[in-house]
Symmetry: C2
Subunit: 469 residues, 2 copies
Amino acid sequence: MPSGGAEHRSEQLSLLAGLCHENLIAPEMDDLISTLENSTFTDDPLREEAVNIRETRRLRERAVRVPKSLVEDLARVSSLSTESWKEARQNNQFTSFQPWLEKVIHLRQQYADCLIASNSRYDALIDEYEPGQNTATLTDLLVPMGESLTELLHSINSSSHKPDSSILSNTFPIDAQRDFGMHAAKTIGFRFEHGRLDVTTHPFCSGIGPGDVRITTRYQLNDFADSFMSILHEAGHGIYEQNLPKEHYGTPCGLATSYGIHESQSRLWENFVGRSLSFWTYFFPQAKAAFPEALRNVTLDVFHFSLNAVAPSLIRTDADEVTYNLHILLRFELEKQLIGGSLSAADLPEAWNEHHQQLLGLTPLDDRSGCLQDIHWSGGSFGYFPSYSLGNIYAAQFFEQAEKDLGNLDTLFSEGNFTPLKEWLTRNIHSLGQRFRADQLVERVTGSPLDYHPLVNHLHSKFSRLYHL
Amino acid sequence: MPSGGAEHRSEQLSLLAGLCHENLIAPEMDDLISTLENSTFTDDPLREEAVNIRETRRLRERAVRVPKSLVEDLARVSSLSTESWKEARQNNQFTSFQPWLEKVIHLRQQYADCLIASNSRYDALIDEYEPGQNTATLTDLLVPMGESLTELLHSINSSSHKPDSSILSNTFPIDAQRDFGMHAAKTIGFRFEHGRLDVTTHPFCSGIGPGDVRITTRYQLNDFADSFMSILHEAGHGIYEQNLPKEHYGTPCGLATSYGIHESQSRLWENFVGRSLSFWTYFFPQAKAAFPEALRNVTLDVFHFSLNAVAPSLIRTDADEVTYNLHILLRFELEKQLIGGSLSAADLPEAWNEHHQQLLGLTPLDDRSGCLQDIHWSGGSFGYFPSYSLGNIYAAQFFEQAEKDLGNLDTLFSEGNFTPLKEWLTRNIHSLGQRFRADQLVERVTGSPLDYHPLVNHLHSKFSRLYHL
């Protein structure tokens, strides 16, 4: 969107948010839901109608607590605040964004206050992205996992065996990157007759409707991994969207379970599949044909290791599998304080830099590579970041179970056969919509509750092999 | 949009069309408009409020005659029919599209029947695109103009002085085409902070809202004119949209006058400016710098002549300034018969080919280069094509008047100064929204009623010079 369109869009978003809110909180809606709740539809709680009734009730219960004016303000201010963030980030000037951040935090606090029954403001916001989750469970999950990962990072740092990451900065012609990326997305199961791949500054996936799922990436001539791994990541989101049950479009049964489950799908395809040796056993010869100059004299093992280089970094979206969750831990700690009120927007840059140094051993050069790097807070998305780590954790649990159910996936991948995994995911996750809450879904699919050990085990075993630990 | 998204989009469009229709025909709306009609707001008919009241009444009067189900059917079927047309055009298979065309014609006939007071179905449809116009006036305009242009075409064909159009098929790197096109669009007055230029199969301009106007083009390595002239054309539309009064957004005072007036803006910048010698006096040195290989040893005069090559062709959008209106005359005659009922969809291909041979001395090779070439009819836009010729005619009248008011425009253009013309157009046309109907606007701005002679005179004088007639 050109910058001049921001004001109009913010008004439109505010209007739409208000209209949706009004429909949801209308007394007739309460009557209708009540009638359905007392019908035979709810005799079996897993029946599609019962799921739709349950989830619509949940949405309405949240909505009735929030005044329409706050819903509209949030939509309008978030949209304008994001524009301010874009400019502030470009100019590396936190102070110009600070008043907007203050407004957004204040509105989100008010919003949380409307929702709170007994727990904290931050809990109320988390529940929006990951229904059923809360600060305590997340702390118990993310903090010890962070400790394990820091340990692993130290071992990796001490290893004398290092990848040659410079390979990925050779010259990769952009047309060939696009063609190769599309080919890979198609091979893992993203259907281009029901979707598109376009170019944006920040990659994303957007489900426009059944049969129309848009994913994006960005290309740089001297960076193969950035565009390619983004394509696999967004294709993972896209495959989820493309395989939600079309007949339930517009109702909870046709919607993704949660942000965390959505992220599990992108991270599974990006990391568990796309950074595996077996994936590249199949694709590397094709990559060599697509990029004959850049990959001349490069072997499969060297290439695979370079794609899995681990190093502390400043930018979350560039982070490797090991340090990624430390970036999330940082945001989790800070947004808890911002929403709780113990950290002011003005003090954010300093707090960010301190925590970053502490967790990753690096201090950002400036706010652009520090607290201004992510779009989320500008749009009011506090409580969203933990979904990324949940996604990684869920992905590990799902992948482990898929291997149990399907046999050795590496054998399939090295033959270019991703269909069994895709179909397993569709059967166990995509096709269910919001039938189960995220924690119930994980338990149902894997037989175990939410557990970070499969992720840590996966990372330990993978990086021990690569780094000769 | 990926093909899989068509069905969902057609449902969405149908829903929105129905909702808008319902609001417009609601009895409360009648009451509200009546109250305003009897208020002091309408004392001065040119007062903004009076204009908004008048135009909203006109829209409502049309809408109440049409049942909501027909509005929804039209939206749904048009959207699906366009998908069928895309496929039929690609496969060059008219028969697969024919049943959809029949459906669309039938729905448009029903729609026209709802609106008819005394005149023909086709009149009722024309009035939607160009309020106040009708078949008789258009016939009196387009037929004699067609005769003049045919005569001019014959003289041009007999001239031994011919342009070397092959220059434009040299190799023009696409990045340079985009940069040069954006530079030209910016120079004539398209504001990129309030708009974007993107790539699509068929160029278009879409006003998303104040401050956000999107134009598109397409690039081919060996065709400079196609992308560049499309950019100027769409930028002309875009400049109109960008200069509508923002404070009236969403009301008639903030909307373009008519399709014909919109087209006058695109054609004015594309042809009267963009194909003039003075425009290229300024831009050609920059073009040589942007395309050093393709334009090596090419002089300004040779380049300018090649951009103005006249030759009968099969495809409307490729047509030169002289033959373009003959393509429109063909469509005008045929759609009059299709809507009137004297020509069936099944007989369209043959009728098209016959008329084409008669008017332009060529018979299409196939339906893809014949009756399947344009998107319009697939979407139910019957009565739209005459707006293109009206646009050319209005453009000539406006341009002639602008020269009278501003002095020699060529002197300004050759210095790269397009601001006085842009500001003249904004003052006299853009800023007025729907204050005046198209025919009133032309008379008000130029002092003359709608008249094709300025266009024919312009073409005669320009091409006599170029072709040494």
